[in-house]
């Protein structure tokens, strides 16, 4: 994908840009919700003294995975937006 590419003008009207922001916002909400859910389960197991180490151990893997996924989507969203302004 490193060859010279002709550039098309930015085609996105405001409604499309708002919808794109909405998708990003929903993705933040999804990942945020999952992180809050996992933290809730840790608190619950802690409060009930119900092997909290299992919850902590799994969350140490699960939460970073979701945060990395959020990071990738965020990177693509802003990266493409900035990249689209190049050569314009």
């Amino acid at each position: 994908m490193s060859t010279e590419h002709p550039i098309s003008p930015s085609p996105d009207p405001p409604s499309i840009r708002w919808a794109q922001r909405l998708i990003l916002g929903l993705f933040f909400a999804l990942v945020g919700g999952i992180v809050v859910w996992i933290v809730h389960l840790i608190r619950l197991s802690w409060r009930l003294r119900d092997v909290p180490s299992a919850s902590v151990g799994i969350s140490l893997v699960a939460i970073p995975v979701f945060l990395i996924l959020l990071g990738v989507v965020n990177y693509v969203f802003w990266g493409l937006r900035r990249g689209g302004k190049e050569n314009r």
Partner: protein
């Protein structure tokens, strides 16, 4: 490839399924909707009258629904895992098949998860997982890993589609607004290409361990119990191997059907089927090795409960399923693919492998539950028409969602085909020359 660039004339065939809808397509969709409707009606009936309308009982509390769940989650490995491995290993022949594989993954993951909700009987009980879940339970590991896999697979499907979505947006087709939103302002600049390449590479690396973890965790639902026939240390890799095996089979069948219907012979060539056939053969041998190791260990240990279940599979009521599975998963694929890695050959092997893998899931689940540890007779499980309806509905939903995807998006990655044409030859030549000991050849590119 720029978004404004018109695809090469030859690649117009890749957009044809979106622009042209035949009466056969509408008929197929109508038929599928009927079957999905049967599944929905079965579910509504079960919701109203409870799980008593199924063949599930005590102790056989898991039957068709959990078999479907494990089967569909297994097929999901088609996609993302195979696509990611081929992408990371720079296998150039991957280009026309990765999109199909990724779509299969996303669709079947959703259907697999849906089967869990159906099995719950009362879907409101899913809230208990959210509110009172316990992370000691492998069931919750499942919920977490499948959520991660579905999220990652959806992103991994979407990102490599962005340049194609921009093409569709710029061609002014129907759904232009949708394409515009999903294309994220792609205009084809160098910087955008860099960003997208980097993100796709990160996702390809990420989805492999997530995919492996998903089917390992699905196997842990069984192996973490002390049930004979389930409590096995090799269940994780055994399930992963079976999942990749069924995933490749599903991918081959999909490719053959799509190739035939949309006349994509220029893109899906015999070499693709030969390569995937080799992979399928390898996975069939691996599957047999794991099955042999699993059963031999149990047989040699000679624990009465373990052996009782085993004999019910070898020459008892489950024998037709067991030997059918061995024939479908090992005998037919190995015989056919050893000598006949053609399109018809891979099709036959894939169909038998898919059937065999569904049966394998069934005889892992049901025989163990049919032999409870408490002293009582062997229990029979016979699925009801409700379970059959929901199973047929699940399969029909898979095909329907795939058919809808084809109507909206290119099923073969257009920009990756074009990129392959423009750059892959040079890149591959350089790579091959770098393997060779003769350094003087390296200046030839």
């Amino acid at each position: 490839m720029s978004s404004s660039e018109t695809p090469r004339q030859g690649d117009g065939a890749l957009f044809e399924p979106i622009g042209r809808t035949t009466s056969a397509y509408y008929l197929t969709v109508a038929g599928l909707l009927l079957l999905v409707g049967w599944g929905v009606a079965s579910y509504v009936y079960q919701w109203v009258y409870g799980l008593g309308v199924t063949g599930l009982n005590r102790p056989v509390a898991w039957g068709f629904y959990i078999t479907n769940f494990v089967f569909f989650i297994g097929i999901s490995h088609a996609g993302t895992l195979i696509s990611a491995i081929l992408r990371l290993s720079h296998a150039e022949w991957r280009r026309p098949i990765t999109r199909m594989a990724e779509v299969i993954t996303v669709v079947v993951l959703g259907i697999g998860g849906m089967n869990i909700l159906v099995d719950l009987g009362r879907p409101d009980r899913a809230l208990n997982v959210l509110l009172q879940g316990r992370y000691q339970s492998p069931l919750l590991w499942d919920a977490t890993s499948i959520s991660a896999y579905l999220t990652a697979s959806t992103i991994y499907l979407w990102l490599p589609m962005i340049p194609d979505l921009a093409m569709l947006r710029d061609r002014g087709r129907r759904w232009r607004w949708l394409y515009g939103v999903l294309a994220l302002g792609w205009t084809g600049t160098e910087r955008q290409h860099r960003v997208l390449n980097r993100a796709v590479a990160i996702m390809a690396v990420m989805v492999i361990p997530i995919a492996v973890s998903v089917h390992s965790v699905v196997s842990f639902v069984f192996s973490m119990t002390l049930q004979p026939g389930w409590h096995s240390t090799i269940f994780g890799p055994y399930f992963v191997v079976g999942a990749i095996f069924s995933g490749i089979a599903a991918l081959i069948i999909t490719m053959i059907v799509i190739r035939r219907i949309y006349h994509l012979e220029r893109y899906l060539k015999p070499v693709h089927f030969r390569n995937l056939g080799t992979l399928l053969l390898l996975m069939s041998l691996l599957w047999f090795y794991f099955t042999f190791a699993e059963y031999l260990t149990g047989y040699y240990g000679n624990e009465p409960e373990e052996v009782g279940i085993m004999w019910s599979k070898f020459n008892g009521p489950f024998a037709p399923f067991f030997w059918g599975m061995v024939i479908a998963n090992f005998v037919v694929p190995v015989l056919v693919l050893s000598f006949w890695r053609t399109i018809p050959g891979t099709f036959i092997a894939s169909v038998t492998a898919l059937i065999g893998m569904w049966v394998e899931r069934y005889i892992i689940i049901v025989p163990t539950l049919s032999h409870p540890l408490l002293p009582q007779d062997v229990w029979a499980y016979l699925p009801s028409i409700i379970e059959l309806g929901e199973t047929v509905g699940s399969f029909a939903l898979f095909v329907l969602m795939f058919a809808v995807f084809i109507k909206l998006f290119p099923i073969i990655s257009v920009w990756e085909i074009q990129e392959g044409r423009e750059e892959a030859l040079e890149v591959t030549t350089k790579r091959i020359l770098s393997y060779l000991p003769d350094e003087s050849l390296q200046g030839q590119t």
